[in-house]
């Protein structure tokens, strides 16, 4: 008789699969100051200086950064808030990074 072994998934994997992950992506723009962008990231996401600055540099150097991944409703709220702060933010649907 064949024995089926199922690899246990982590709670995070299951949660993300069920929640259909959405990414909050910030794109580079030539206008907004680096210090302003770091301030916004800290304020909107509650990130510390290092993490906010890392994301800001990624936006500046690579043209984009995934700031947050999770459920659609929360991702939409974050994108909306970032757009209120005049950052170029978009919602992307995809596999978790």
């Amino acid at each position: 008789m064949a024995q089926t072994n199922t690899r246990p998934e982590t709670e995070t994997d299951v949660a993300l699969a069920l929640a259909d992950p959405w990414h909050v992506v910030v794109l580079n723009d030539p206008v907004n100051l680096m210090s302003y962008v770091v301030f916004v990231f800290k304020r909107v996401f509650g990130y510390d200086d290092n993490r906010a600055r890392r994301h800001m540099l990624e936006v500046h150097e690579r043209g984009r950064s995934v700031l947050w991944t999770g459920n659609r409703e929360k991702a939409e709220a974050y994108v909306h808030t970032l757009q209120q702060w005049q950052l170029t933010a978009v919602l992307e649907h995809g596999e978790a990074h």
Binding site: W22, D29, P30, V31, N32, L33, M34, S35, Y36, V38, F39, K42, D49, R53, M56, L57, H60, R72, E76, V79, H80, Q83, Q84, W85, Q86, T88, V90, L91, E92, H93
Partner: protein
């Protein structure tokens, strides 16, 4: 009680810049500073999404314009609390984006990002716009540093 912030500006220098910025702050309060990408946003949310962004923009610009009334004309100072400072920050960004899309079109993205704008090569119109652009940047940077002293320009 939110802390008050008072900023003293050099009236002879900043006054003319505000005169130039005022029409930009008072016009088009029902239009977004830049087009927004609504891909991924649920369709039934999209109209409300933009309306809400426009409302925030209008409110931020109205607050900013209101700072430069009689008291500013008499003393060169503007005053607001830390909560209102967030509206000032956003308004500065809106106005910089509008300047970029308007009178600063002759400047490339690269020049703006790298800070390599040759002021004396700009047209007369663009020089005035660029001076306003720099003033707004300075105001934003000073405010950010006041609100979060740990953040420095990279």
């Amino acid at each position: 009680m939110a802390k008050r912030i008072e900023i003293r500006l050099a009236l002879p220098v900043v006054g003319p810049l505000i005169d130039r910025l005022r029409p930009l702050a008072e016009a088009d309060r029902d239009k977004l500073a830049v087009p927004v990408d609504l891909r991924g946003v649920e369709e039934d949310l999209q109209a409300h999404w933009c309306d809400d962004l426009v409302a925030t923009l209008g409110s931020d610009l109205a607050f900013f314009a209101g700072l430069f009334g009689e008291k500013f004309r008499a003393t060169g100072t503007i005053e607001f609390d830390e909560r209102e400072a967030l509206a000032v920050l956003r308004a500065c960004s809106i106005l910089r984006l509008r300047l970029r899309a308007g009178e600063l079109q002759e400047v490339t993205d690269e020049q703006l990002e790298e800070g390599e704008v040759d002021f004396f090569r700009l047209s007369e119109k663009a020089r005035g716009a660029f001076t306003c652009y720099l003033f707004l940047a300075s105001l934003q940077e000073n405010l950010v540093r006041h609100l979060d002293p740990g953040i420095g320009e990279g």
